[in-house]
Amino acid sequence: MKFAVVVFPGSNSDHDAFYAASEVIGEDAALVWHKDTDLQGADVVILPGGFAHGDYLRTGAIARFSPIMSAVKAFADRGGPVLGICNGFQVLLEAGLLPGAMVRNDRIKFVSRLVPVRVEQTDTPFTAACASTQVLHMPVAHGEGNYYADPDTLAEIEAHRQVVFRYSNAAGEVSPASNPNGSLNSIAGICNRQRNVVGLMPHPERATEAQLGSADGRVILASAVKSLASLAGR
């Protein structure tokens, strides 16, 4: 099984994602330059964190024009699993692969710390190995992670169980106090209607070994392996 990690100019979590997929999970992984047009036969695509194209105009706004994004979109349309982490999530929103948008954190601050996140849905390729309502500790590091969608879109996302992760406390309780950035409904991650495209602000790839403060993020990538294996076995 092969992971492709897209490298935009300004990506900074690309090597963390590559390391997590190849060294920690032990699968094949490739770094794919944003000007490339094919995904090298990958089974899973990761859009990593960072500041693609300097976040010029808006976060993720320019990255959606990178040549590789046509291949990513085609891959997603075929049902291929795509994970957008932090800036990668912002790129998926700007590219229209996920609904909604990001605005500045409500308290202006760039938030960089380990946060608990509750898994809301386990029927996505990136949460298939999680327990229902499992709490994962993963770092966030962003200035614009305040998820916004208009009321109709938000209602639709909730109705179709597209909220995959919510900010919570360590006990899994969701409240304004456990929301680091003002995201509507404490949303930390969502999926598309088909459930194969997932975006989240926390960084699972930076929480894959105990030395990093948490190994909870490992299950996100392990989920992709599990879900592809079960597809292949079907």
Partner: protein, 80 residues
């Protein structure tokens, strides 16, 4: 021909930057400041002669790239 595009957050979207700027202005002694909404301003140089077509084209540009219609609204002006 030149066009101007003003992009602002929709009224329903909280603007924390504008809020901080408003607080700073009040701290500076401008007690009359009640709120600030921060936005973006673009000047687009065009090789065009027809103002109506130019406005339609720039509006399209604003919709596709300069603004994110999920959170932002925009206004386009074409200068003579």
């Amino acid at each position: 021909m030149k066009a101007r595009v003003y992009v602002t957050l929709k009224p329903s979207v909280f603007d924390p930057q504008g809020r901080v700027v408003a607080d700073a202005l009040v701290t500076l002694g401008y007690q009359e400041v009640q709120d600030v909404r921060q936005g973006k301003f673009f000047e687009v140089e065009l090789a065009a002669t027809d103002a109506v077509t130019a406005k339609a084209r720039v509006t399209e540009m604003a919709d596709k790239l300069l603004a994110n219609p999920v959170i932002e609204s925009y206004r386009v002006e074409v200068l003579p």
